[in-house]
């Protein structure tokens, strides 16, 4: 393969979008500083009933699911050998890189005793029965793997082709790890809730939580690739990846159809489907989720749907929202603390999350403009003044 398979997008770096994003990051940085000076309570609405809030659920649980693009594409490209998708691989990896790295940053902001974080790595403190222990180590390892997987982009940028080629020989190992580790911890993000028992609505609580989280994480990974490819090709006037994405979407459609079927069958067999008709907030959220999961299934499994760039984009977005909502509901909405506590994130708390998302977009834009990430196309070689 030619060395110029990927190349930086030659565009201006300081656009108004970038400046707005940077401002949002600065606001978040202010509140993060406040949190470190005065404690979590000074910034968040966390309370005795809701020890985990916006930061854990959105920045970490949902954030890493958004970062599953790299995982999902690696599974498809390297394991199932669908080479035609290879051109989507690097942008997907980059998305994953930021999703996970920033989740790691969010963990450090959210951890109460962050200065003792390294205790996770000390064998005498290890507690292998803890799902959290497994998640923490896996995510940490995966962040490292992601950087290694993505490192060819840096190495190419700085002309270190020999190092790249050396690394390439062992890349299969990192690719394998890059599939194994997310399989483990994305399912474990569901296992984390197994201990919640009766505190979680039976519409979400099932012993199959690990599987549910793994499947939705994969789906979100593919959805994020579709989303990203569509947005990038549109924003930067690059040729559409539509034909490849349409093929990809058939697979995702079937996967989600299976997921929905499984979810309803399992609920019905357990006898807990009645809760879906309880008419409360949980039931409402359940049906919103179901509708959002159904929409991409309908779009992706009809030829007219997947061939329309607009509809496919809509389907990908719906799938991302559905997967995010599934996580948000399972962790916060469907969770009832023992004592009667309520929670809604505070403005500073939300602004930190907004800032983390802004940072993610900002870094993504910065990277695709400075590093060889995007698949090389003819028009990109003659950059337009923009």
């Amino acid at each position: 393969m030619a060395t110029a398979a990927h190349q930086p997008l030659a565009r201006r770096i300081f656009t108004p979008t970038m400046i707005v994003l940077a401002a949002l990051v600065a606001v978040a940085a202010y509140f993060v500083a406040t949190r470190f000076m005065y404690g979590l309570g000074a910034v968040t609405n966390l309370n005795q009933g809701y020890p985990w809030g916006m930061w854990v659920v959105v920045d970490i649980v949902i954030g890493t699911a958004f970062g599953c693009g790299g995982f999902a594409m690696a599974l498809l490209v390297y394991i199932f050998n669908r080479n035609q998708y290879h051109r989507l691989m690097r942008p997907a990896l980059l998305g994953g890189l930021f999703g996970y790295t920033l989740a790691g940053v969010a963990v450090m902001i959210d951890l109460g005793r962050y200065w003792q974080f390294y205790n996770l790595l000390l064998p005498w403190y290890a507690q292998p029965s803890s799902v959290m222990f497994e998640v923490a180590l896996c995510v940490l390892a995966y962040v490292i793997v992601l950087w290694i997987e993505f490192s060819p982009a840096f190495l190419e940028r700085f002309g270190l082709y020999k190092v790249r080629d050396f690394l390439r020989r062992f890349m299969f190992l990192f690719i394998a790890l890059g599939v194994l580790l997310p399989t483990m911890h994305q399912s474990s993000l569901g296992s984390l809730l197994l201990v919640m028992g009766s505190q979680l609505s039976p519409l979400w609580y099932t012993t199959w939580l690990p599987l549910m989280f793994l499947v939705t994480a994969l789906a979100m990974g593919y959805a994020v690739v579709m989303f990203e490819a569509t947005v990038v090709s549109n924003t930067f006037n690059l040729p559409s990846e539509q034909p490849i994405l349409a093929k990809l979407s058939i697979m995702v459609g079937w996967m989600m159809a299976g997921f929905l079927l499984f979810r309803f069958a399992e609920l019905a067999l357990r006898g807990d489907l009645v809760h879906a008709f309880a008419g409360d907030l949980n039931a409402l959220m359940f049906w919103i989720e179901t509708a959002l999961f159904l929409l991409p299934v309908a779009i992706f499994l009809t030829p007219g749907g997947r061939e329309s760039q607009r509809l496919m984009f809509l389907g990908a977005v719906a799938l991302l929202v559905a997967g995010s909502l599934y996580r948000l509901d399972a962790y916060l909405v469907a969770y009832t603390p023992v004592q009667n506590y309520t929670y809604f994130p505070s403005v500073p708390e939300l602004m930190v999350t907004v800032g983390v998302v802004a940072l993610e977009i900002l870094l993504y834009l910065l990277f695709v403009k400075t590093l060889p990430v995007l698949h090389a196309h003819e028009p990109a070689r003659t950059p337009k003044a923009r």
Partner: protein
């Protein structure tokens, strides 16, 4: 790769449906780890709501014994500037708290309608504690002898999973401190080491909080249940030893159940009451501990890391083979 995508998807969908069919609670029970046993010298507490007079001496004694700061709820801060400890619930600064159940005109104590009752909240020292199961760094530990669930702030990373996972909402993180830590009742281990009784039981004027070996406390419960309501009984105070003056009072009309032994794998702190336990804010829980479910599934999936290792080997093989094939194609 010979596996056709369509076939793969069909298999996946069918497999999913099949798994769904089998996913009854009984099938899931196969994963569940066996329950844990009560430690041989388990110490516990018997809290008798009918004896509690709501004097809050235990809350005060607990603060003093454990050197916890005064708590001032925000909505009371305009008249209470931290001189009057007034915890509303367990928090990073309060290890136990007395709460009141109120109904209607609140005319009589220990009555559900138009009555009121007191309840004490603190760690129940589960036999199979969720907090110990979920803690990634072994900061929560259960003493193998006494069964006391302790917390080590030097190990803790502050992830607050124990707060989230406890079915009783007991461990709490001090959110208002940049260097906060988890706070939970550790049964005054520092006093027990010196042969003393935990502060809340020691100070309780009526013996509503009673300290002792779980087995002895069970016998005490049975004695109370065996007596006709109204007959006079010498209620022990502090602990079950004979060197403390007991007090005589009529045996109340208990609801014929003990809260604790059958909740979430069993607890070492037991409750007696004359009003329904749910009214006192004690959650209805299944007999099985939730740690049994989560650890059971986790251990099944990760037993000796066999499954992940096999998966990794398979993945590495396919990745290696496919990479080689691609290189050959390109060459």
């Amino acid at each position: 790769m010979a596996l056709n995508r369509r076939d793969f998807l069909k298999c996946a969908a069918l497999g999913g449906a099949a798994a769904g069919t089998a996913a009854s609670t009984e099938a899931a029970a196969a994963f569940i780890r066996p329950p844990k046993e009560m430690p041989p010298k388990a110490v516990g507490m018997l809290y008798d709501s009918t004896l509690c007079i709501g004097c809050r001496a235990c809350v005060d004694a607990c603060k003093e014994a454990n050197d916890m700061p005064v708590e001032m709820p925000v909505h009371l801060s305009d008249w209470n500037e931290g001189t009057w400890d007034s915890p509303e619930d367990l928090s990073g600064r309060t290890l136990n708290v007395i709460k009141a159940y109120r109904h209607g005109t609140m005319e009589a104590k220990d009555r559900e309608t138009d009555g009121y009752a007191f309840v004490k909240r603190h760690c129940l020292h589960c036999v199979d504690p969720s907090c110990v199961s979920v803690c990634p760094v072994s900061a929560m530990r259960k003493d193998p002898e006494t069964g006391i669930v302790t917390h080590d702030p030097d190990a803790c990373i502050g992830c607050r999973y124990c707060v989230y996972g406890c079915p009783f909402g007991v461990p709490q993180y001090d959110l208002d401190n940049p260097f906060g830590k988890i706070a939970k009742c550790q049964f005054c281990t520092h006093l027990q080491e010196k042969g003393q009784t935990p502060a809340c039981c020691d100070v309780c004027p009526t013996g509503a909080s009673l300290f002792g070996l779980v087995d002895d406390l069970k016998e005490e419960t049975e004695r109370r249940f065996a007596m006709q309501p109204g007959t006079l009984y010498q209620f022990p105070r502090g602990n079950l030893s004979e060197d403390r003056p007991r007090h005589e009072a009529p045996v109340p009309k208990y609801i014929p159940a003990v809260y604790g032994p059958n909740e979430a794998g069993g607890t070492q702190v037991h409750y007696l009451s004359a009003v329904a336990f749910e009214k006192l804010g004690l959650p209805k829980l299944p007999k099985r501990s939730f740690a049994q479910v989560s650890e059971g599934i986790q251990h099944t999936l990760y037993k000796n890391l066999i499954a992940p290792a096999l998966l990794l080997a398979g993945l590495a093989f396919f990745a290696w083979r496919n990479a080689r094939k691609r290189d050959q194609d390109e060459a």
